[in-house]
Symmetry: C2
Subunit: 412 residues, 2 copies
């Protein structure tokens, strides 16, 4: 094999750089001459923005820092390749550029859209009999990819959410009058992240009172009645809701407010605001103190708490992608397959990108209580192994140290 290239795409996670490291080190170990990085994903590649990773990761310390640095080291993009048919010129341009760089294998670390990129490049490669191999390396905190047991990135986000939920519960139950705290967790269509709040419950923690996932229709009156019932006992509560919960007519809960903060440049109404809306409703109806807490982008970038299981798996998935390419595969996505629960064991397994791309995996309804206000023990059992063990930050002068790509606009 001559050279390989790797890119990162979509929203960041805390371990997306561990997958990058897995690709880089495994490719080097297996004899790749140059490991290129696409700066800002496929979009950067189209502009000729690539970097030789050996020049950017010079020491063992650089690599240790890379594992502990959140967000995409190479930069990211939100760019969906158009259909192959009718856009052959674009694809020819990409392949010509890859040939110029003497690329034999192409790795793309990302979520659903990125797997679609792998699929389309594979398809064009097949049509044109290109020898280049295309392998997808999944990552997404949302855990919404099909086939794979879970996605790298999810375990660390779940660990962060569960740990902060415990802290918010301690904080929320401190007063001798009732306070209703509503936590808003990411997840527009899938409730995996919000479900992680269930991990907080234990010997040392009361746990959250209620959990609402987007997989179930949200009923505002039922919600308020539930809160009212608990308020009669005069106690504080912490409630977790997904940003994506919807009412029966299909509107997001945050759209029920009489005002919309704003609509962004892509025409998306800003979703954040579900917790604020619900907290306001509770305050209005019951006259109690409420709090709205949005965990915000820290859910995907809080690298000061990461799951060692997740970091290791992210690295392994990157390595398995290289192995698959070196063994001649193309059009594959590396999935995780849980082969044992106790002890937890997971292996990597390539899967055809055509069956994985563009399919969204939601929380099974049988893992949610019938009234939709909590999750079942099976779901906790599924998540718990993914948050085990820690990677300690490298602290320098009181803060976690990172590594960043300097002068990324290097052109070939």
């Amino acid at each position: 094999m001559r050279n390989v290239i790797v890119g990162q795409s979509g929203g960041p996670t805390a371990v997306i750089n561990s997958s990058l490291l897995g690709v880089y080190k495994t490719a080097k170990d297996r004899g790749a001459k140059i490991v290129y990085g696409m700066v800002h994903g496929i979009k950067g590649l189209l502009d000729g923005q690539v970097a030789d990773l050996s020049e950017r990761l010079r020491t063992e310390l650089d690599m240790d820092l890379l594992k502990r640095t959140p967000s995409s080291f190479l930069g990211s993009c939100r760019y969906k390749l158009p259909d192959v048919l009718g856009n052959e010129e674009l694809y020819k341009k990409i392949f010509a550029y890859l040939d110029k760089l003497e690329i034999d294998a192409f790795f793309y670390i990302g979520g659903n859209d990125s797997m679609d990129t792998i699929k389309k490049l594979t398809d064009f490669g097949a049509i044109t009999s290109s020898p280049i191999r295309f392998i997808g390396v999944p990552k997404t905190i949302d855990n919404d990819l099909a086939i794979t047991d879970h996605t790298p990135g999810y375990g660390s986000a779940a660990k962060y959410i569960a740990a902060t939920t415990k802290e918010i519960i301690r904080d929320g139950l401190v007063y001798d009058y009732p306070v209703v705290s509503v936590m808003e967790i990411m997840g527009r269509n899938a409730g995996w992240l919000t479900a992680a709040t269930a991990l907080a419950k234990g010997e040392d923690c009361e746990g959250v009172d209620e959990i609402y996932l987007p997989e179930k229709v949200f009923d505002l009156d039922y919600f308020l009645a539930n809160v009212g019932k608990k308020l009669k006992e005069n106690r504080s509560m912490v409630i977790a809701v997904s940003e994506g919960i919807k009412v029966a007519d299909g509107r997001y809960v945050c759209e029920l407010a009489d005002h919309v903060d704003y609509t962004d440049m892509f025409g998306h109404k800003q979703l954040a605001g579900t917790a604020r809306f619900l907290a306001a409703k509770v305050a209005e109806k019951y006259g109690v103190k409420t709090r709205a807490i949005e965990l915000s982008s820290l859910q995907r970038c809080a690298s000061h708490i990461t799951s060692r299981v997740d970091v290791t798996e992210a690295y392994n998935v990157g390595g398995a992608a290289v192995k698959a390419a070196f063994e001649g595969m193309t059009g594959q996505v590396i999935t995780l397959k849980r082969i044992s629960d106790d002890p937890y064991m997971c292996i990597t397994e390539p899967a055809d990108v055509h069956i994985i791309a563009n399919v969204e995996k939601k929380v099974p309804l049988e893992w949610i209580t019938r009234d939709g206000t909590y999750v079942k023990p099976e779901l906790v059992h599924y998540i718990r192994p993914l948050i085990q063990a820690e990677i300690t930050p490298l602290w320098v002068d009181g803060l976690p140290r990172h590594i960043r790509l300097k002068n990324p606009k290097m052109r070939d």
Copy 2:
């Protein structure tokens, strides 16, 4: 000395329990018979809610966990004692109850309102020639207490804010199109917490672009013009604002929105929303992608990142309070006095509660740039020693372990 009693009041911090531990262990070491805890502060005391701390902290592990548990172990209250004159009955009731418990020293861990409680109890004690000694143990993430160099709780909050700011910056600069992220930090009148975002800047981090503190009048047009200037370079930015920034006519920035989410039961308009308002304004004016990020209550309860300097000082301040009482002092607050910058050294020193209570310490204007968009190096130099070193959580089954007070409604 016979028995002593200790309470916690006001908003939680990550190290308020370290001060509790400092009081408990030092009092025990010095021979106090029973160390009582007020459950829910002075308000709980009025209802006869006290707990014998020896029964609640039985092992070394319990104490190690206490240091790592956020929020007030004993529960908190927001209760301001009324004036002594005209309310003698209330004070007589408190003192009678303290006498019944054979209390010789009373310690109260809290912020400005709690120091006012110490002041009033001291005054009533003086009038009635009570032998009970009253000592205040400062804590507040806001760092707004007078006389003391800084307050226990501030260092850990500053460390959390600085660490997450670094992560938000990595996350915010990842795309190849401009994204404007606005972070909202606690601090209604004092900008100490928001100023901590300046610590993010370093060799491995670009730092935040702008910092707006409540000590300076906020000018919306100037803010928007500044953002516009940087957007001309087509780059992403991260901006830190205090929740308490106000425009020239004295209104909070979040009050400029055409809607108010709601007014709480105490008639306070909900302040959270400054970042949302500013992000919406930027999106409206420049058509770029924006994000509003509220660090929320995690600023005061994120015990998974604490400063070892802060934890140690919090403990020492608790211990010094006991020492002062055992040496016969009353009406004192334990302050921190910085005696050296390099190396950083801080000692404890009792100060008369009458000069410390009800005075709010703000960020000196000479530590803020003249145009009010950033802080000066002197401020960073002041904060940096306070965030040094770490206390590692005790991880159990993937999550930080805490300790909680069970069956707190124990009555004497």
